[in-house]
Symmetry: C2
Subunit: 353 residues, 2 copies
């Protein structure tokens, strides 16, 4: 834990959702868009994905103010076959274009068994799980990909070509929240690097590389993230880029725009890809969900290597944090509180939670 760990307050999810929604609307964002963004940010924070949660509000507001993000998108959806379509996100928030895209995929799947939507002209969409989880609510498997700013060292090179392009897979489950795998294709994220910087601690080996592409454990020297499994993580990043950039017609690889260092007036031209797959086209939904639950219980009952550390299913840590934060609230650092107070003043929304 960093030195800021003792300096936070706990905020109720419902009230912070309302606050973010109001601020966005005061910034000229249309109501349907502000709903998706506030829900997406708060869901990420609730699940412990703080890097993709409410802390991004100040950054996004700069994007709205600068003109990077369109507050009132004119979506254009083109159905290209029974199971496919393309969505023009019109440069709005990725959260909103993403919900629109996944809902179209679900609509296609309802008729054709599966639905696949490439979204173009989009922006940062936060945590991928937000969209894939929508499919699970409809008894479908959900998958979601996005391209991202290049940060992952190319195997054999001394610099990055692909972003930390996430792979997200969600399947519904009997009696508990869906199985949710939402993983970057690198060993760790830059958020983790920042935590190591704050706590002045070494990063584990084979996780990051310095400016020359050489592996390092020093967080101060970390410039690139290393892909998981060497060429395998690199290959997965490339697969995601094919889905998100080549199928959508957006810039690919190291032409993908910068999130933080780019000009806030410039559109990001990001691409996403959403898949929904009806379970009942393959197996009775009740049987599938029972087997899914059985698999998860079986995994958690596997013998432990260390008696004090439980065997977890991917996504379990997020489920546990969500349970805690539902009761206790979302921890907000002093820095972010100050940001929220200032934003509240600027946009005439009371930050009084």
């Amino acid at each position: 834990m960093g030195k800021i760990a003792h300096d936070f307050i706990l905020l109720d999810a419902g009230r912070i959702t309302e606050y973010i929604k109001k601020v966005l609307e005061q910034a000229g964002v249309r109501e349907d868009v502000s709903c998706h963004v506030s829900e997406g940010l708060v869901q990420a924070s609730m699940r412990g994905i703080d890097s993709h949660g409410i802390r991004l509000l100040p950054h996004y507001l700069k994007g709205v103010e600068g003109g990077r993000i369109n507050q009132k998108p004119d979506y254009k959806f083109e159905k290209t076959s029974a199971s496919t379509g393309k969505l023009d996100g019109d440069h709005t928030f990725g959260h909103a274009a993403g919900v629109e895209g996944m809902n179209k995929a679900i609509e296609l799947a309802t008729e054709a068994g599966t639905g696949h939507v490439a979204v173009y002209n989009s922006s940062h969409f936060g945590a991928a799980a937000f969209f894939a989880l929508l499919a699970a609510k409809r008894d479908m498997i959900g998958m979601c990909f996005t391209n991202a700013t290049p940060h992952v060292l190319t195997t054999g090179s001394n610099r990055a070509f692909f972003g930390n392009n996430p792979v997200c897979f969600v399947a519904p489950c009997d009696g508990e929240e869906p199985f949710c795998l939402d993983m970057a294709t690198s060993a760790i994220t830059f958020n983790r690097v920042m935590q190591h910087k704050e706590s002045n601690s070494q990063i584990s080996t084979d996780s990051v590389a310095d400016a020359n592409g050489n592996p390092t454990t020093d967080p101060e020297k970390a410039k690139y993230l290393l892909p998981i499994g060497d060429y395998k993580g690199y290959g997965l990043s490339m697969m995601v880029d094919v889905f998100c950039s080549l199928l959508s017609g957006m810039p690919c690889g190291n032409d993908v725009s910068e999130m933080y260092s780019g000009e806030m007036s410039k559109r990001r031209y990001l691409g996403h890809f959403f898949t929904a797959l009806r379970i009942d086209c393959f197996e009775e939904v009740s049987v599938f969900k029972q087997r899914m639950a059985g698999m998860m219980k079986a995994l958690r009952s596997e013998p432990r290597r260390d008696m004090d550390i439980p065997v977890q299913v991917p996504g379990d840590p997020e489920k546990k944090i969500a349970e805690i934060r539902t009761k206790e609230g979302i921890p907000v650092s002093k820095q972010l509180q100050d940001d929220f107070i200032q934003i509240g003043k600027n946009y005439k929304v009371n930050f009084n939670l």
Copy 2:
């Protein structure tokens, strides 16, 4: 290289294909099935995936003789929506059931934009690329998954739950063979462990674990394979198992049958999943293939970390080996030559290449 490296002959791909096909037919395998198996085995060997190539013939023949593999399958395909279907492989070779499954997926995609087929009652299918490459020939993206014997250490446990379930993604490309990512979800394969045993060399760290689930570099102690990226490779294995076991209705996780140690009279009840996705539903095929080629060229031109080691695209090593073996032939060890001669005698097929 192992000590057997100097003791091989080079065999022509066409002639070895013909030999395997004739042997299988003499073993009672129907012609369409024997075609797919011989092509699949030889393609894997040509691409340097020797573990999944022609060396498997003796093992498969035991499966035919023992009754594990059905020589004359009665496939049953059920179309369950515009873009989905299920195929009963009737316990034949996975290579044959797989080609049938991928061809059905391509057929569905031709009409509905995408096609997704779950295959049940199948057996070992060799290298996943064999099937996904079929989609690329039709200007589609191909994906292919299979479940497998549990060998990958579950994160936090001291034993395996999932197999080394492969993820395969193929996309067509202008002016060269398709981009082909065909990766296991573990750091290395057991085939590599065997090579280390033969050469009495240490395995790199974070690749395998001993019988207690503790990481080891000693090939003699290796019992489990470690997943790439810790919980990420484990999560990918689980995703693949959901596709191949839960959607197909086959046994999952550590109920998946043994390849080598199981009785050769017992059906394997494996499941696979095939996806084909028409590129022209998203982007002009010529534009996509040019951008795909451009991406691959750009990656190979990225600055090198070590001037003597080229930057490669995943799949490049297989392409290079295929080029060499097209000219020179497939190297066959003395052991395998002896096996082929003996098999030739048993099945009255002349091994005279």
